[in-house]
């Protein structure tokens, strides 16, 4: 359900009302040149990311264990994760599991199983961060999208906004529920330069941790050198304006339940509307003035 830029502009052009928007919308989707510059400035050019090569994964689920251990979530023993019966059900991250691996039998290379680890994608321009009413969610210039429970009021708009349905909520905590999602182990990955827990434990080196810009090149190089092995699509390079976590795979991503998303970034659309109407409070002040004038004009008419 792409909203093309043309239809967006036509809608607005025809329906004068939020007219200031049209002039601010530049050639690149919803993003204005001003916004793009502001964003480029905000994001570190050396920001980190992860490239996950799904053709390498054997579904050992050690990443699930490491994630739980590193984030103080219930995680049991490492050998618990040898249990393959969990693959019978399609699983999603929960409020006690930031990452899960799903198995797609026979869909891998040469009829092997294809295993897909899912977690927060750490969008470049995250909808959850744009949604958050108190700034509890934050996109670090270095890449990770982090959560500060001490600010959160629990409105759950981030969950509504996330196109990947990632943030989960501690609904059963009556007093101090938190939003639960992967933070890319930012304390160690960004602050100490170590690997995120899931990347670190992986015995197959499915995931490569590094500068996002280099990972994009690496992904395309792998596809170029092995065109029979991969579909020519780096998932996350452009989806919703790009993500820090990216995938390459031997099957189209729609077949392994990753949502098909436009390159347009939804956060820029709403932020353009918000700032178009409220920039410098010009909209409200103008309306106030007009109404004040109307009060006077109508007064004269009546007399």
């Amino acid at each position: 359900m792409a909203i093309s830029r043309k239809s967006f502009l036509t809608s607005l052009g025809t329906l004068a009302g939020i007219t200031s928007l049209t002039s601010k919308t530049s050639a690149q989707g919803y993003i204005t040149s001003e916004q793009r510059k502001a964003h480029e400035k905000m994001l570190d050019p050396d920001r980190i990311g992860v490239l996950s090569d799904l053709t390498m994964c054997i579904g050992c689920r050690k990443c699930e264990f490491a994630c739980g251990e590193n984030n103080d979530l219930p995680h049991g023993q490492l050998h618990d994760y040898d249990d393959n019966t969990v693959f019978q059900n399609f699983r999603r991250p929960t409020d006690t599991q930031y990452t899960v691996v799903n198995r797609y039998p026979g869909m891998g290379i040469n009829g092997t199983d294809l295993d897909v680890k899912v977690q927060c994608m750490h969008c470049e321009h995250p909808a959850c961060v744009s949604a958050c009413i108190v700034g509890a969610l934050e996109k670090l210039p270095t890449g990770p999208v982090t959560y500060d429970a001490s600010k959160c009021i629990g409105c759950r708009y981030c969950m509504v906004a996330c196109p990947f349905q990632i943030p989960q909520y501690e609904y059963n905590n009556a007093l101090t529920p938190k939003v639960m999602k992967c933070g890319l182990c930012f304390e160690q990955s960004v602050q100490k330069g170590e690997l995120p827990a899931c990347v670190s434990i992986c015995p197959r080196e499915v995931m490569v941790f590094g500068k996002r810009s280099e990972l994009v090149e690496l992904a395309h190089e792998r596809i170029r050198t092995n065109p029979d092995r991969y579909v020519d699509h780096v998932y996350g390079e452009h989806e919703v304006g790009g993500t820090s976590w990216m995938y390459i795979s031997n099957v189209p991503f729609s077949e392994i339940d990753l949502p098909q998303l436009d390159a347009d970034c939804p956060a820029h659309l709403t932020e353009t509307i918000q700032h178009g109407v409220f920039k410098g409070f010009s909209g409200p002040i103008l309306l106030f003035g007009l109404l004040g004038l109307a009060t006077k004009l109508y007064n004269k008419e009546e007399e």
Partner: protein, 403 residues
Amino acid sequence: MSAARSNGVVPYFTRGVWVLVVLAALGLGSAMLRFIFGIGAVTNLDGQYPWGIWIGVDVATGVALAAGGFTSSFIAHIMHRERYHVITRPALLTAMLGYTFVALGVVIDLGRYYWIWHVLMPSMWQGNSALFEVGICVVTYLTVLYIEFIPILTERFRGRVHFPGAWAALNGFTESLLKFLDNTLGRAITFFIIAGVVLSCMHQSSLGTLMVLAPSKLHPLWHTPILPLLFLLSAFAVGLAMVIFESILASRSFKVPYETPILAQYARYIPIMLWIYVFAKVLDMVNRDSYMFLIDGSVESIFFIIEVVVGVFIPIMIFTSRRLRKHTGWLFSGAAAVVFGVVLNRINVFIIGYQPPYATQRYLPSIFEILVTVGFISLLILIYRFFVLNFPIIHELEKKKYA
């Protein structure tokens, strides 16, 4: 006003009121359960559906239905259509109570309700969030509504303050406070009335911006960049209709003459607003080619068609007819249709049309969610009845009180 108030002309308690008392008690009880056992224990909300009827109905629909406050004050006070003054006070009361209950609905739904004041802290302001804009505007507008209500308080109590017993010492002070408020507000009230209209336009539209942020989750019949505009236009229409709807209900309940001639004139504005609304909606659908989803027979398409036919086209037909407008019954039907249409629209945008990518089932509210929502509406009506019986709100009822 020397005539003795003949209280008891209309009793507070009737059989219907007792039903509301029971419903309100059940609702408050369910709300208690939520605070003791948590959101997960009493609602059907989960990781797929983070927002249910407490946001979709209590908050989003509540804000829309309370739009009667700013639409009527715009027409009566800014356009100076003096004949409509009789309907501005009930509309103001509805808005004041409506927004108060919107705030309560938010508190119930928030996981960490005790930190709701974070929204007011400049250090945590997040100007990119449409929800932040809604939150700040609702808080400010609620304050403005309370201020706009002060003249009703002063009219009721000025010159009549006599506290019992030892409290009588406060009589003089309270009187002068009322006098001060009356005199000050008399001059400043226009400012607050205009502020109320501006704030309403701001958050009624921003409420629509909320779901624009989830283009891949909201069904294409409803997701559009002009959703804020559509929310604003439908708020205008339902604000007008709601005033008619409740005026007729109140007149009937208190057994006073209907305001039909005034309401019939007021109703003329409704088809204009509905035409503009539906024009914008159709044009946008043609632009986005989303009309193709109308005929796929899905639940969404059926809900959309009901929303537009009942909420827009039927009332346009009723209110455009000069003959039908004169009948209280038709006026009520038309207004009820608009109210139904906007309620359904908000439910469609926030609940029916919300399609998370990994949904395993549809969201249906739990019994406790329904009890809280119904209970809050009942409590609102009970408080409305108390105010109307004890304060100068409904013109015809005042005549009856002092008859």
